[in-house]
Amino acid sequence: MSNKGGSNLNDTKANSSTKIEPSNAQPEIKQDNVLTLEKSIVDKLVSEFGDKIKIAYVKPLRVRVEVDSSDVIKVASFIKETLLFDHAESVAGTDYPKGNYIEVVYHLGSYTRDELAAHVLALATRTSRDNSSLPSLVNIYKSVEYHERETFEMLGVYFEGHPRNDRFLLPEDWADIPPMRKEFRIKGR
């Protein structure tokens, strides 16, 4: 970690006469209407993984990929290393009692590739409702750490390999079922 953190007063050359210089070079972002970039992303994924992945939809700027929970680590590392989606924006867990599964969607974005700045890749995976457990992506995407912890307490999905599957937002004495499960009814409704 290149974290310097603390500042020494003697080292600091703070001086009110120093001119503040905001940066000026601007990023170039191009957009097209024929979904070329989206399709190239999908092509790369399909040629690498074949029928292990399922492309749910290709919309402008949005691609959704569904994978099995056993392949999610491999697909995620490919997306990070090759396609350069470098951070997770959100991790959304959804409960489907009718199909008896819980779906966890990682919304991945890219800061490093300028042409991907507008794109969001949704990586979806599923687990059963009764014995919910998924491999954690925290070693690939550091940014999912708190999102996965939130998903654990809101839906009860245990993330294997996550440093802390622990209470986060709910009170310490929470003794009910995870609140985002559909059978949890809020009062009066």
């Binding site: 290149s2 310097k4 953190g5 703070a14 601007q26 972002i29 959804t94 969001v120 940014s143 709910l170």
Partner: protein, 389 residues
């Protein structure tokens, strides 16, 4: 502290008294401090830090003091009923938090927003960005011990609130953005008042820079403190001013222009120094740029036309999902909405900038001095109510 000698004497004495000897371990030197929720510098948030002397060696955030279950409540209301409670997490930035919600619902229900409505939305959004950033600046000023910087922004903020009150009818909770446009048109004389206010505010910004950002004490407390390199910022997935202060020009208004932002000429404000000063200065640059954007919006707005599309009483669309983002005062603000074809959403996930920036807090605090804690914590542009949802 305890030397060999003292331990030996203790050992001798303990043979007589039967006392247990406890040798000082590495952990005994650490002191655990709880910051918040009743702490002037924490807000609605608590984190525990372990300090070794002056330096923080461990930090553990403990959010959730304002967790009100917004996402669960969304599932019990229809798309229109959801608007008022969704803006409560950031009542001083309420136009931006309902903006991306409206965009996502429009994508799901296939509603086209009229041009004039899009412009009024953008004006309201930029006004609210000023209101939010001024409030943040006031807080940052007071926690760096600069009382003037509390009084000036809170005073100027009221002028922007007056404008929003004239436009929407409420002080902070506007419920102005609805799927399909905005609730009502601009009142007569609004643009002139808005332009007058912007001209006044641009003069004030120069004074802010002179009294606060060029203040040697402020510079000493923030420059070189809490370095977040570009690689770390990308790895942690931070957003908004924290990201742009780490030499990454990324702004949703530029990256993925929504509504009318592709017709507006503006620059993404970012800095290269990666420290707390950059994180405090980027919102200031944003305010400047926002004034420039507002002038163009008022100049380019169509003089007549509808401000909202005709809605069905209970709008619904086909089953599907949408993920839309806007640039709020705290960075990217995304809504992931799943609809199952009914008027109520099946699942609403709010991806907020504050929650994402919280991951940078332990990263920055570990290794920093305890005295730098307020400067680092508030520079993260963190609003606990939004992070907890």
């Amino acid at each position: 502290m305890s030397t060999e000698f003292s331990n030996e004497t203790l050992e001798k004495n303990s043979n007589n008294t039967g006392l247990q000897i406890v040798k000082e371990s590495e952990e005994d030197r650490l002191m655990t401090l709880s910051v918040g929720p009743q702490h002037p510098g924490s807000g609605h948030f608590r984190f525990t830090v372990k300090v070794d002397g002056d330096y923080i060696v461990h930090c553990d955030p403990d959010p959730g003091y304002v967790h009100r279950g917004e996402e669960k409540m969304c599932e019990y209301r229809n798309f229109i009923q959801n608007i008022p409670h969704l803006e409560r997490p950031v009542i001083h930035d309420s136009n931006n938090i309902t903006y991306s919600y409206s965009l996502a619902v429009e994508e799901l229900t296939n509603i086209q927003v009229p041009r004039r409505g899009q412009y009024i939305r953008a004006i309201a959004s930029e006004l609210n960005r000023q209101v939010y950033t001024l409030y943040w600046l006031a807080i940052y000023g007071i926690f760096l011990g600069h009382s003037t910087m509390f009084m000036w922004p809170t005073g100027d903020r009221e002028l922007f609130i007056d404008l929003l009150e004239m436009l929407t009818g409420a002080r902070v909770t506007h419920a102005f953005n609805i799927p399909g446009g905005v609730r009502n048109d601009m009142p007569v004389g609004f643009s002139e008042k808005c332009l007058r206010q912007i001209s006044y505010f641009e003069k004030r910004l120069v004074e802010y820079e002179n009294i606060f950002y060029n203040n040697p004490l402020m510079r000493q407390r923030t420059e070189g403190v809490g370095l977040l390199t570009k690689e770390d910022a990308i790895k942690l997935g931070v957003t908004g001013s924290v990201l742009r202060a780490s030499n990454t020009p990324y702004d949703i208004r530029k990256a993925e222009p929504y509504d009318v932002y592709n017709e507006i000429d503006f620059k993404v404000q970012y800095m290269k120094s990666c420290d707390c000063f950059a994180r405090a200065y980027v919102p200031f640059l944003d305010m400047k740029e926002s004034c420039y954007i507002m002038r163009q919006l008022i100049d380019k707005i169509p003089q007549s036309g509808e401000v909202r599309a005709k809605l069905q009483p209970n709008p619904k669309g086909p089953a599907g999902e949408a993920y839309r983002r806007v640039e709020s005062g705290r960075g990217a603000l995304g809504y992931y909405i799943i609809s199952d074809g009914t008027p109520k959403p099946y699942r609403v996930k709010i991806s907020v900038g504050s929650f994402r920036n919280m991951l940078a807090l332990p990263h920055l605090l570990v290794g920093a001095k305890l005295a730098d804690m307020p400067a680092i914590y508030w520079a993260l542009n963190y609003w606990p109510v939004e992070a907890d949802r």
